[in-house]
């Protein structure tokens, strides 16, 4: 029997076990939407109608990050596709598996500046892992299979499939390939045993080793293996923003996050280690700081599925190309017997003592009161700790926007499991948090999903709140409201002598009314003593909630390594506070 391209598309989704499609219709995808009509009726695929295409892509992204499964998006041609580009670039930078299907003008009109035509394959080439233009309906099923395979294998990433409208009407037999074979694409996953052994002997000879885990540990499902490796060797572990949750942060071996706003002990441990074991991390500039001073004197081992990530920024001694889980499993298989390991662990005692000393000197710190203010000011860090305290038992999925609140959430939430922390790291896309939370809640209907967002960021995709109401998704959105574009304000304060430009937004929407207008429950808190009660109330509501938490507007994120600075010299909170206190007209009342 012959099917239309639109029907082949739908049948392909079923073969690929796609249950949820985030999208927005338009002329070029009308045939596809008509075919979806039937798939929705028989319950095989649900389509979520968003309010802006950027929201659709972030939702698919949140869906992927909360489950490990690829997210799927369907958009129309021209403006539909271009509205999605920010979302696609966001997923690309963080290596998120995703398939985006866009409608295109009919093949005979391509290149004619037709109505709603855009060169979507051209526009998205630099922000997708790969993309396709399907010009012949006989290629469609194969391309759909290849798209998912490419998106989910090797180093994952978004793949876009552009389908001209006439192709969705053309008919052919539906021939589903039972396997995908792309001769020019064969990611190496195994990892050389020789290299693995070389790495192990380096590690076992180390006196001050550190494990540095990135998002690759999450995406290769390596959490159990890396955790096992760290514990058997007794090596301290630090994680990147993207890697949080690949090792339990409540474990005594955890140094927590490293990098620009990482903990003092994590950055100092990096700076002073003798063997650095990087797994699924890419030596991003937010992690390395000044390259010439990054981990000098350490032998470096780098495990990554992407050969191009190895020795890109930092020259390494033992490169291992492979899937993090498989490589770490090989390491585990080749460890010396337990008595030798016990001896090794004991030999690391001085290193652990040194790290504990750094932690004692400069733990994560904020002053839980404001000079000259009554005790009712809510510190943003405290608010986040409080949300964490009240929800940790439920192991929530936490999404964020971008800015100070994101960094505080990374610092003060503890993630003990992978696929719980959903944040835009590489691109740093404001507006990500709310739609990502919606996508995550669709993927995990029974789990608690929280969004920690900024008062500026959340306004970028706020239109999606009504989607949560429409589908009765009980997401809890906490606005850490400092009436500033806080992170930019912090940089202007630190590096531009307090000259604030375009960062103050005192006129805010009435968030309670806005929530109400969108069918959600709104709350507003200004006093510290009221916050715990409001959090409880929000958690016990079945509606989506928007909680406007008015926090100290002038709080900054510490520790901080200024862009391009050496990670050996973080600016820590208490020193920074001293500067503040000195400048504060109320400082007299302090002493």
């Amino acid at each position: 029997m012959e099917l239309t391209g639109a029907q082949i598309f739908v049948e392909s989704l079923k073969k690929l076990k796609v249950d949820t499609l985030f999208g927005y219709p338009g002329g070029a995808v009308l045939h596809i939407y008509d075919a979806l009509h039937f798939a929705e009726k028989d319950g095989s695929i649900r389509h979520i109608l968003v309010r802006h295409e950027q929201g659709a892509v972030h939702m698919a992204d949140g869906y992927a990050r909360a489950t490990g499964k690829p997210g799927y998006v369907l958009l129309t041609s021209g403006p539909g596709a271009t509205n999605g580009v920010t979302g696609i670039a966001t997923a690309y930078m963080d290596s998120i598996p995703m398939v985006i299907i866009t409608g295109q003008v009919p093949t005979h009109l391509i290149g004619n500046d037709a109505f709603q035509e855009a060169d979507v394959v051209g526009i998205t080439r630099p922000c997708t892992k790969h993309n396709f233009l399907v010009k012949d309906v006989r290629d469609l099923a194969r391309v759909m299979a290849e798209a998912q395979y490419i998106a989910t294998s090797g180093r994952p990433g978004p793949v876009l499939v552009d389908i001209p409208k006439d192709v969705t009407a053309h008919k052919t037999a539906f021939a589903w390939p039972d396997r995908v074979d792309i001769p020019s694409y064969r990611p190496s996953t195994e990892g050389h045993l020789k290299q693995v052994k070389k790495a192990l002997s380096l590690i076992l000879g180390a006196k001050r080793p550190v494990l540095y885990l990135g998002g690759g540990c999450i995406w290769s499902n390596a959490a159990a293996e890396v955790t096992g490796l760290a514990r058997r060797l007794g090596i301290p572990v630090t994680q990147t923003l993207m890697g949080l949750g690949s090792f339990p942060m409540s474990d005594p071996l955890s140094l927590d996050m490293l990098g620009m706003h990482g903990t003092y002990r994590a950055n100092l441990a990096m700076s002073n280690c003798d063997v650095l074991v990087a797994i699924g991390a890419r030596f991003d500039d937010r992690v390395t700081g000044k390259l010439d001073e990054f981990c000098v004197g350490a032998k470096k081992i780098h495990v990554d599925i992407d050969p191009a990530s190895i020795s890109k920024n930092v020259e390494v001694d033992v490169p291992i190309v492979g899937d993090a889980r498989k490589v770490v499993q090989k390491m585990l298989d080749n460890l010396p017997p337990e008595p030798d390991l016990a001896k090794y662990r004991r030999s690391l005692a001085p290193w652990h003592a040194q790290i504990a000393e750094w932690e004692r000197q400069h733990p994560l710190f904020y002053q839980d009161w404001t000079p000259g203010s009554p005790g009712e000011v809510i510190k943003p860090q405290w608010a986040i700790q409080e949300i964490h305290r009240k929800t940790k038992a439920r192991s929530p999925v936490v999404t964020t926007d971008v800015g100070q609140h994101q960094m505080w959430a990374a610092q003060y939430f503890q993630f003990d499991r992978p696929f719980r922390w959903v944040t835009s790291g590489g691109l740093g896309t404001m507006g990500f948090g709310l739609p990502a939370a919606i996508g995550a809640q669709f993927a995990r209907p029974k789990d608690l999903v929280l969004a920690i967002v900024g008062d500026a960021s959340v306004q970028m995709c706020i239109q999606e709140l009504i989607v949560a109401s429409e589908h009765k998704l009980p997401i809890k959105v906490f606005i850490i409201n400092n009436i500033y574009l806080g992170m930019v304000r912090q940089w202007q304060e630190m590096f531009y002598d307090d000259r604030y430009t375009a960062v103050h937004i005192p006129l805010q929407p009435d968030w309670v009314k806005l929530a109400d207008a969108m069918g959600a429950a709104g709350f507003r808190v200004e006093q510290k003593s009221k916050l715990p009660g409001v959090i409880d109330e929000a958690l016990s509501t079945t509606k989506p909630c928007l909680v406007d938490i008015r926090v100290d507007p002038k709080e900054s994120v510490f520790p901080m390594i200024p862009a391009g600075g050496s990670i050996a010299n973080p600016i820590v909170a208490d020193e920074a506070l001293k500067v503040h206190v000195k400048d504060d007209p109320n400082s007299a009342s302090l002493s």
């Binding site: 490990g68 499964k69 051209g122 080439r125 020019s184 050969p307």
Partner: protein
């Protein structure tokens, strides 16, 4: 330092712009790029001349390999290889100069491919330095038009440096089950 890369790609829609886009997006230089079909019409071969430190060249090679349509990348610079470039040049040729430019063409083993009362069009083939040398000699006569192909290159000896050894599809080439 200059490097000559032989890049085998699937002969597909958009592959040239993927390769060119990679160079521009990452700030790498392209000094010349030639591309044409190979014996196998589904495969094209590009010869790309680029420059940069070893580290940059290594990154270029890795990034090229990462493109889904790229089958193989060989840096010919480290191998024994033959390089050629072709140029078509239209030179002003009147009066005394008319004989002189022909002599230069002869010395460099060029071919006359077109003649007019006031010009000659020559074809030269050779290594880049030879083409540069002949252009310098012809310049004083007045070069009306010049087109160079950019470099093509092949390894020396009987073996093929760009033979495609199709690696068997690994176990993970099966359709990844969602999840």
């Amino acid at each position: 330092m200059k490097h000559t890369l032989a890049v085998l790609v699937q002969n597909e829609f958009g592959v040239l712009s993927r390769v060119a886009g990679l160079f521009s997006a990452r700030g790498y230089n392209i000094e010349s790029l030639t591309v044409a079909e190979t014996l196998d019409p589904t495969v094209s071969r590009m010869t790309i001349v680029t420059s940069g430190e070893e580290k940059i060249i290594e990154q270029i090679t890795k990034q090229l390999n990462k493109l889904i349509n790229v089958i193989k990348v060989v840096d010919l610079t480290g191998l024994e290889h033959v390089e050629r470039e072709m140029a078509l040049v239209k030179v002003h040729a009147e009066g005394d100069g008319r004989a002189e430019v022909l002599r230069i063409c002869d010395i460099f083993r060029g071919k006359v491919v077109d003649v007019s009362p006031s010009s000659y069009t020559f074809e030269f083939t050779g290594v880049e330095e030879k083409i540069n040398a002949v252009m310098n000699l012809l310049k004083p006569f007045g070069i009306r038009e010049l087109v160079r192909t950019g470099k093509v290159a092949v390894s020396r000896g009987a073996g093929s440096s760009t033979e495609i050894r199709r690696r068997p599809a690994g176990g993970d080439a099966h359709l990844a089950e969602a999840g």
